[in-house]
């Protein structure tokens, strides 16, 4: 049934390509396009398949020209796994930038799909695909939205988000049941506005991308070789973020800072949504801004009765641990995107604070 639909769509897409923007939305959005395409001036279509970004949605097989990539450390998303892709309009390229995201041309689309293995012990059992988020570079800036998959495997536009029940088996074979939250459009902004009022990509930064991809080739080098990335400095000058859960990838300090960078710094930076707290967890933050011996400001119950964000050597006296170890809405950090505890992240930050020298006793 699916194959028949695709064949029909291919024929229609030819006609659509010739007609362009004057068509009403239904027709622009029509059936699946033969090749990836995105009208940056049109509102989001109701169905994800319209854009032709995948040759097969269920397996997340990208269409030709849709480039998969991986990042060194990832934001915990309630144990969901993620597939990441970028699509560039024909003939357009990415331009090197650091420490912010690579500069992507207008028309670029970042694609991230969230899912769970049906049974993590058995890849052949398949995957539960929940949602795909698009971040589109429109002429006036980036815009993000989520598509939630219906029972036919079609992604449906869901600007108001969704709450989904998921059942899967983890690597130990344990049955997991959880409520998975798809963010609404404003919540996309809450994370992606690293600078207030400016929606921007987070993952495609040189330090996160500087690693081997699925093809065992360095991703940045691969894009440079393919003529898709220009302006890069010599390779020995590329930054590289540690992999938070790989001790071989960096020191404890480097891995902890990489984790804070990817998990917290999109809000906790001097221009982000959490700037009002005075807590800066970005990769360049100094210890005082990082929360060492810093009294909280507007923490409410989030303080857990503790006096400082970080007390060196004392994770259980540090507010940051109470935040990471909570699932209560007004206490947990990150504030969005999780209802579970990131056990690996908690262990890493605990180890980091435990090893931190110094104290918060008055002089």
């Amino acid at each position: 049934m699916r194959g028949g639909g695709l064949a029909g769509a291919a024929a229609l897409a030819v006609a659509l390509g010739a007609c362009g923007d004057d068509l009403p939305r239904d027709e622009i959005c029509g059936d699946r396009r033969a090749a990836p395409g995105f009208d940056v001036d049109a509102p989001f279509c109701d169905r994800l398949s319209t854009y032709g970004l995948f040759s097969e949605l269920s397996s997340q097989t990208p269409a030709t020209g849709v480039l998969p990539f991986q990042v060194n450390s990832a934001l915990f998303a309630d144990r969901a796994d993620k597939d990441r892709f970028v699509w560039l309009p024909s003939g357009e390229v990415m331009t090197w930038s650091d420490p912010g995201a690579l500069e992507l041309p207008v028309g670029a689309v970042l694609i991230k799909t969230f899912g769970f293995p049906t049974d993590a012990r058995d890849p052949s059992a398949g995957r539960i695909v929940l949602e795909t988020r698009l971040l589109v570079h429109r002429p006036r800036g980036w815009e993000g939205v989520a598509y939630v998959y219906d029972r036919n495997g079609e992604g449906r536009l869901a600007p108001e988000g969704a709450s989904l029940e998921v059942a899967w088996r983890d690597g130990a074979g344990a049955q997991q049941r959880q409520t998975y939250l798809v963010p609404n459009k404003n919540q996309c902004k809450n994370c992606h506005e690293e600078t207030e009022g400016v929606l921007a990509p987070l993952g495609p930064k040189a330090r996160h991308l500087n690693r081997d991809g699925a093809d065992a080739q360095n991703q940045l080098q691969g894009w440079i070789d393919a003529g898709l990335l220009v302006g890069a400095p010599p390779r020995d000058a590329w930054p590289r973020s540690a992999v938070s859960d790989d001790p071989q990838s960096g020191t404890l300090e480097e891995r902890a800072r990489a984790w804070l960078d990817i998990s917290c710094a999109h809000c906790h930076n001097p221009r982000g949504a959490a700037r009002t707290s005075g807590l800066d967890l970005s990769i360049t933050a100094e210890p005082a801004a990082l929360g060492v011996c810093k009294a909280p400001v507007a923490t409410g119950r989030g303080s857990a009765g503790r006096k400082f964000d970080i007390v060196p050597g004392q994770p259980d006296a540090s507010i940051i641990m109470a935040r990471l170890e909570s699932t209560e809405p007004e206490i947990k950090m990150p504030e969005l995107g999780r209802t579970l505890i990131d056990e690996a992240g908690v262990a890493l930050i605990r180890e980091w604070i435990t090893a931190m020298p110094g104290s918060c006793a008055p002089d």
Partner: protein, 427 residues
Amino acid sequence: MLRLRVLAVIIGASGGIIGCGDNLGPCDGVVGTCIPVPSDASANDAQRALLEATPGSTVAFSAGTYHFKTGLSLDVPDVRIIGAGMERTVLSFAGQTDGAQGLLVTSDGFTLEDLAVEDTRGDGVKIEGAERVVLRRTRVAWTGEPNATNGAYGLYPVQCKDVLIEDSFVRGASDAGIYVGQSENVVVRRNRAEDNVAGIEIENCIKADVYENTATSNTGGLLVFNLPGLQISNGSDTRVYRNQIFDNNTLNFAPPGNIVGVVPAGTGMVVLASHRAEVFDNDIHDHRTTNLGVISYLTLQIPISDPSYDPFPTALYFHDNRFSGVSSNPSGDLGAVILLSLAEINASGGGVPDFVWDGVVDPSRLVGGEYAAQDKLCFQRNGDGDFISLNVPPGDAQLPVTDLAPLDCAHNALPPVTLGSLGRAAR
């Protein structure tokens, strides 16, 4: 003006008021684009309305109680959210499972009118980084007993500019009922704050007028604070006048570790490390610990790692206030220091003075043993309000002082806050 027009439309539309009012939709009478949120709407429906709103439009909630388990957010500029009245339209977040606030607003030109937000897990209504904010006839309440599990802030604009909060009611916040942080040009007037830890708190703000409010039954009635480590570092120019601040004797129920946790039960007003404040024509009475406290951040003994921060209160002017009702049983750490200080000068018999100053001064500002005229702490024409400068830190060689003569000075009146950008909305 707008209200009159609404009324006229209602009368015109119904052709006779009796029996027709309940049939009106929430958008009836609203001028301009209006998105109704029917009384059976889910949180998702309400969120969709807030996403679909366009600049200049109104999102109108019906009379009735909405039960939302997830927080709402607005990021479209110049949107007004209205209800049918702060006792008639209730957004209840009891049992909330997601969202650190009831309503989070991140866009300029926001107006909230005539509805209530109840029982949020975290803050009630938070507005971050917005210019032109009006909160009017709104109610934020935690409906149970005062409890550390209540949300922190009721009405909570932070890093905003041109803020008006008026005719609103806040109850039960485990931090501050009305909390304005790191904002500029702020008017807080004719509100009522009850049963919160702090009734009204102005923190690290520049230019705030706080007047004709009532703060009662909180732990501390009204706080003007300056804290270190924030982007707006040294707040100044606060006017506090014609407020009724009385009987704020509720036990402090803030979660430990929060700065308001230092406020002892029975505190009328506290000025912490603020600069240029004029406090006048207030009625402040019946507080167990003190009617008025002025303290330095150093007294809190919390390390300061912010070199730009000035921990010393300067240029405060208290005049023409009416104080009454003292106790001999002050509470908390501050209460203990007050009792010690009173004993040191054999003044325990008279009860706690109305005005307690920690007496901590900035040595670098001293000229001939006292502050220059522009930095002084001044206290004039406050009836028979009495005073003590504490011996802080305890054991310091300098004895507590109760003589008001050194405080008999004046500062120039501070100018009123103008909310020019709010235009008609501010009237």
